[in-house]
Amino acid sequence: MRTPGKPLRIMLVDRLPERTNTVEQALSAAGHQVVARVMAGGDLAADVAAVSPDVIIIDIDSPDRDTLEHMRTISRERPRPVVMFTNDDNASTIRSAVRAGVSAYVVDGLHASRVLPVLEVAIARFEEFQAMRDELEQTKSTLAERKLVEKAKGVLMRQTRMDEEAAYKAMRKMAMDRNIKIVDLARTLIAATELLEPQGRKRGP
C-alpha cells in the first residue's frame, strides 16, 4: 500500500473530452497525476495493463465498465481493478456518483478512504458539467417553445383575421380554460391546421 499523501496515478475513461478536461484540471490541482485519458472502444484491458494506474475514473455510460469488471476475475491480470465501495458504508457517496454519472475503480490493495477525495472531485466536476448541459437544453427548449407559439399565433391570425395581440390573448385564455400549457395548445393548433390544410392543397382564391 502507498504512503498517504503520495499523489495517485489516475486514468480517465470518458467519451466527452470537455468533461475530461475539467476533471483532469481539478485532479491535478488536488496534487494527483492523470496518467492516461481514454475515449471508448479500444482495448481497455491492454491500456490498463500498460499504464497500471492506481485509480480509474470512468463515465458511467461507458460500456467499457464491463471490461474493467472482468479484469478483477482473471487471476493473471495485473493490475486487478475493483469497483469502489462494495458495502453499505458508502451508499450515499456511491449513489451521488451514479446520479452524477461517474464510477471509480481502484487497484488491489489501495484503501477506499485514500481514493474517496479523488472520487469526490470527479463527482463535483461531473455534476457541474451536467448542470451546464441541463441549462443549455433548457435554453434550447425554451427557444423552440417560443417558436411554436409564434407559429400558432400566425395560423390563428391568418384564419381569423385577429391581430397579433388578440390572437395571443385568445390562445392564452383557451390554454387557461383547459388547464394546459400554451405551448401544448400551440402544438395542437398547428397539428390540426396541417390536417385541415394538407401540403400542396391551396386554399381557394
Binding site: I60, R65, T67, H70, T73, S75, F85, V98
Partner: protein, 426 residues
C-alpha cells in the same frame, strides 16, 4: 388488489432478448396491470447492476448468473437479489473472425464445419501458434457473470483448451463486438443476437458454434429485482410478472415476429436493422448457417415462452453455481442448493402463472442434459411439452450430485477446494 407502486423504471441492455420487456411496454401489457413503466436503456451490465442495487431501477433484464453473483457479493455492491422469471432461453453463439475461420478450416476441416467439434479445430490452430511462439489469441464475451462466459469456456475446455492460459479472455460490450472483430483486436467472441448475425452479414466473422449446440435450451436472461424490493412490493412484482409472461407468450408466436422486430429495431431499443432482429426471434430460420452433420439446418433463435421457457429452474441456477466454482469465481464455498433456492423463486412463478391460467412446472429441479429429444414434463397440472436439454459432450447435470459433477471436469480453475464445496453441499 392494487400494486403498491405504480410508476416503475425497468433497465435493459439492447439485445434481442430484451424483447419481453419492450413488447410488454409497447403493446400495453404493463398498462393493463395498472403499471406506468419507464424503460431505461443501459450501456453496461455493471451500470445496470449498480442502478438496481441502489434502487434507481425497480427491476432489470439481467444475465441469469448476475442476481446470484450480486447476492454473493461477487459483483459490485453486495445485494440480495431474486428472480421469479426467465426472460427466455438460447440466443448466444461463438463467432470467429474470417481469418481465424480460414485457419480452422485448414487445420482440421471436418471439425471446423461441425459445431460440436469446432473447438478441436481451434485447438489445432492454438497448437500451431504455440509452436511458432505466437501470443495467445483474444476471445471476448460480455461479462464475467454471464452464460456467454460459461458457454465459451465449456466449448473451449471440451477440446482441451484452457480458457485462462491458452487464450486471453476479455470482455467487450456487445454493440462493440463486430467493430473489434473487424479491427482484429479480438479473434473470436461469444455474444447474443443480433450481433453474430451482423458479423456474418458484414462478412467479417463466421459463427462456429451456437449456445444451442453447447447446451440446448439453456438459460439466458432473467428479470431481476432486489430481495428487499420484492418483499416491499409483492403485488407490483406479481403484476410485472403477469405482464411479462403474457408478452413472452405473444413473442413466441412466429406470426408476430415481423411486428416485434419492427418495434425492437427502434433507435431507443436495439437500433439495428429489423431483418437481423427478426432472424433471431422465435421461428426464424438462418439460411446463412451451414446445416449440421445430420443435415438439419442450424437455428438458434431465442425462445421466450414454449417449453416452460419463462420458468426459473432452480437447477439452472445450480448449474451456474457449479461453473462459478469451476472457474474460480467463488473464493468461499457456498451451499449450491440453498443459495439457488433463495434467488430463483419457482414458487412465486407458479402462483402468478395460476392467476393467468398458464401451466407451470410443479417441481423446481430437473436433471439437465437428460433429454436428447422433445419430451413431456408430467409434474404439472397439465403435462408440459418440453424441448431437448442436452450438453454438447453428452454429460448430465444431476443437481443432487454437484460435487461429483465438478470433479468430472479435467479443466477447471478452482479457488476454493472441492472438499470445502462438498462440506457446504452435504
Amino acid at each position: 388488489m392494487k400494486p403498491e407502486k405504480r410508476s416503475l423504471t425497468l433497465g435493459f441492455i439492447p439485445l434481442t432478448d430484451c424483447a419481453p420487456i419492450v413488447i410488454a411496454q409497447e403493446l400495453g401489457y404493463f398498462a393493463v396491470e395498472g403499471l406506468n413503466v419507464a424503460l431505461s436503456r443501459e450501456a453496461s451490465w455493471a451500470t445496470l447492476r449498480d442502478k438496481l442495487s441502489l434502487g434507481i431501477l425497480d427491476a432489470a433484464h439481467m444475465l441469469a448468473p448476475m442476481p446470484i453473483a450480486s447476492t454473493l457479493g461477487l459483483s459490485g455492491f453486495a445485494r440480495p437479489m431474486v428472480t421469479a422469471l426467465s426472460l427466455g432461453v438460447n440466443g448466444n453463439a461463438v463467432t470467429v473472425s474470417s481469418a481465424l475461420y480460414a485457419r480452422m478450416l485448414e487445420a482440421d476441416f471436418a471439425a471446423a464445419v461441425d459445431p460440436r467439434l469446432s473447438a478441436r479445430a481451434l485447438q489445432r490452430v492454438i497448437e500451431i501458434d504455440r509452436r511458432e511462439g505466437r501470443e495467445p489469441m483474444t476471445f471476448a464475451m460480455v461479462f464475467p457473470f454471464s452464460m456467454h462466459n460459461y458457454e465459451l469456456r465449456y466449448w473451449l475446455a471440451s477440446a482441451g483448451i484452457d480458457p485462462e492460459t491458452d487464450i486471453r479472455p476479455v470482455v467487450v460490450p456487445p454493440a462493440q463486438m463486430v467493430a473489434n472483430l473487424r479491427a482484429g483486436t479480438i479473434d473470436g467472441c461469444c455474444v447474443g443476437e443480433p450481433w453474430n448475425l451482423l458479423a456474418r452479414a458484414e462478412g467479417i466473422g463466421r459463427t462456429v458454434v451456437t449456445g444451442q449446440d453447447i447446451w440446448r435450451n439453456k438459460p439466458e436472461k432473467v428479470l431481476a429485482v432486489g430481495r428487499e424490493w420484492a418483499e416491499r412490493h409483492p403485488r407490483t412484482h406479481q403484476a410485472l410478472l403477469r405482464a411479462l409472461i403474457r408478452a413472452a407468450r405473444w413473442l413466441d408466436d412466429p406470426v408476430n415476429g415481423e411486428h416485434a422486430a419492427a418495434l425492437l429495431s427502434a433507435p431507443g431499443y436495439i437500433g439495428v436493422d429489423a431483418t437481423l432482429i427478426a432472424a433471431s426471434l422465435p421461428g426464424a430460420e438462418q439460411p446463412d448457417r451451414a446445416p449440421d452433420r445430420n443435415g438439419r439446418p442450424v437455428v438458434n433463435p431465442s425462445c421466450f415462452f414454449a417449453s416452460a421457457a419463462t420458468f426459473p429452474w432452480r437447477s439452472h441456477a445450480m448449474w451456474i453455481l457449479t461453473q462459478m466454482y469451476r472457474w474460480g469465481q467463488l473464493e468461499q464455498p457456498v451451499d449450491i442448493g440453498a443459495l439457488a433456492g433463495s434467488v430463483y423463486l419457482g414458487g412465486l412463478y407458479r402462483e402468478v402463472a395460476a392467476q393467468i391460467g398458464i401451466d407451470a412446472p410443479a417441481i423446481d429441479v430437473k436433471i439437465e442434459g437428460a433429454h436428447s429429444e422433445p419430451w413431456t414434463l408430467p409434474e404439472a397440472a397439465h403435462p408440459i411439452a418440453m424441448a431437448p436439454d442436452t450438453f454438447m459432450d453428452g454429460r448430465q447435470f444431476d443437481p443432487a450430485h454437484c460435487v461429483e459433477y465438478l470433479q468430472a471436469f479435467d479443466i477447471r480453475a478452482l479457488r476454493t477446494g472441492i472438499d470445502a464445496g462438498a462440506a457446504a453441499n452435504q
